[in-house]
Symmetry: C2
Subunit: 277 residues, 2 copies
């Protein structure tokens, strides 16, 4: 099911700035028994992204109603994607005087990931495609995603689930579709996302859960070698939750106790949030 | 008039990767009395862009025929925009196994620029929005254009025609919609576009014309101060040709002899190319 500005429709106008320039934002949200999981976090990030790009945020009452309509079509597990663009028109890069954003909600089947990915971990590789640096766009889940596409096109081996991306200055940042954490001396480390990267909702939730459980979290700049020296590595996003990384290229990692703890905290927190809703 | 994959149509599918991720390229071409100006240069760059992004290039015989069909609708002056995307489908960032690119041709009225912009020059300003650095995407006219949009949104004063963008390391790169040249000691300077920027067709033609006329051209990294110390400054793109810059913020520039020479060379070259076609 797809809703465009509240109406069932499967197309957008050629002049939409989302198509012309990637002028917009998106959210990818897990749907569980008809409920959008961690919806408040996604809507907050969407709103922040709109502020950063100066796109008028949607009417959130209306958006919630549409989300409910779309999610009702998902019996068990699904994925809801929300795209907000600056709408049609304007002259070249210049935006129109009156911006009427386009709002697209689409429901997709939950990907057929093996349950083993959560329990036994996944295999990752380092990508050669680098992330560019731009503090003004760092953190935002915007529609300019060519870097991720080029990185994801580097491998087709289905035994590899994720590619890890460095920025052009050799700092490790994230996976093509996930954020990345590692454990060293009982401390959780992740990239600081000052110059590049996407500030994932799951990343934020994990940092908050770690704080709540007195697990020290450091957001910093780290190298490939720092990562390879880690005792545990995991990736996360809103759809997969937490997947331990059992190997990066030729370096093996154990599925560690801290990663498993975080999976448990997350699972309990998700149940709690879904119960409340 | 709009053609999508050869058929008149004004919309694209929501699942098109151009809309989902900005996964594509574009060309903006001047149309003069029904002819696409400097078409060979645009098609060459489009082909190069497709190679860089690993998008199968269009069938150029077919594309030329469609361009002709669209341009015939333009009596005098117009603008032809060509967008090529990686087409529909794929799973997330991963591209589909069989890529069927989307090809969009649209004809637009020629903008109502004052003829004085060419003869007497335009006013420009420095933008605070910076260009990010990514050598892998530098030069390519791709659909990820949020930086230009944020920069163009910085001003609405209609007496200012262009904003000049620096990269995050303070190098001057280009205008929001144009490439930038300056003159110092009878030498032409422009940004090298190693880390960012769009390698414009008009920029290429100007460099070649300068070479042919024994005018020294240096592509290098330069600062705001280098630019402000110039004796002449101009911007260029395929639609405007060459516009002298008569002022950047509070610094005035004369419309110089070398800029006027280049305008004359360009005008003669354009006539020659259009005559041949």
């Amino acid at each position: 099911m797809i809703l465009v500005n509240g109406k069932p429709r499967e197309w957008i106008d050629i002049t939409d700035r989302g198509f012309q320039y990637g002028d917009g934002l998106f959210e990818t949200i897990e749907v569980c028994s008809g409920q959008a999981v961690f919806l408040e976090w996604h809507l907050r990030r969407l709103n922040e992204g709109c502020q950063c790009l100066a796109i008028p945020p949607p009417n959130f009452t209306l958006l919630r109603r549409e989300i409910q309509t779309v999610c009702e079509h998902s019996a068990l597990a699904g994925v809801l994607k929300i795209i907000i663009t600056r709408g049609m028109g304007g002259r070249g890069y210049r935006q129109p005087d009156i911006i009427q954003p386009t709002r697209v909600l689409s429901l997709h089947p939950y990907p057929d990931y093996s349950p083993k990915f959560s329990s036994q971990g996944i295999v990752a590789r380092f990508c050669t495609t680098r992330l560019g640096l731009n503090p003004a766009l760092a953190g935002i889940k915007h529609l300019n995603r060519l870097e991720q596409i080029l990185a994801r096109a580097e491998w087709s081996d289905s035994s590899i689930q994720e590619g890890i991306m460095l920025d052009i200055n050799d700092a490790v940042i994230e996976g093509t579709m996930s954020n990345l954490f590692y454990v060293q001396n009982n401390t959780l480390y992740t990239a600081d996302l000052i110059y590049t990267g996407v500030a994932g909702v799951m990343r934020e939730i994990i940092i908050n859960l770690a704080d709540a459980h007195k697990l020290n979290v450091i957001e910093h700049r780290f190298s490939k070698q720092d990562l390879l020296n880690a005792t545990e590595v995991f990736i996360c996003n809103s759809i997969i939750g937490v997947w331990p990384v059992k190997r990066i290229d030729n370096t093996p990692f154990a599925v560690g106790a801290i990663t498993q703890c975080i999976q448990d905290w997350l699972s309990a927190f998700k149940d709690k949030v879904l119960d409340v809703d």
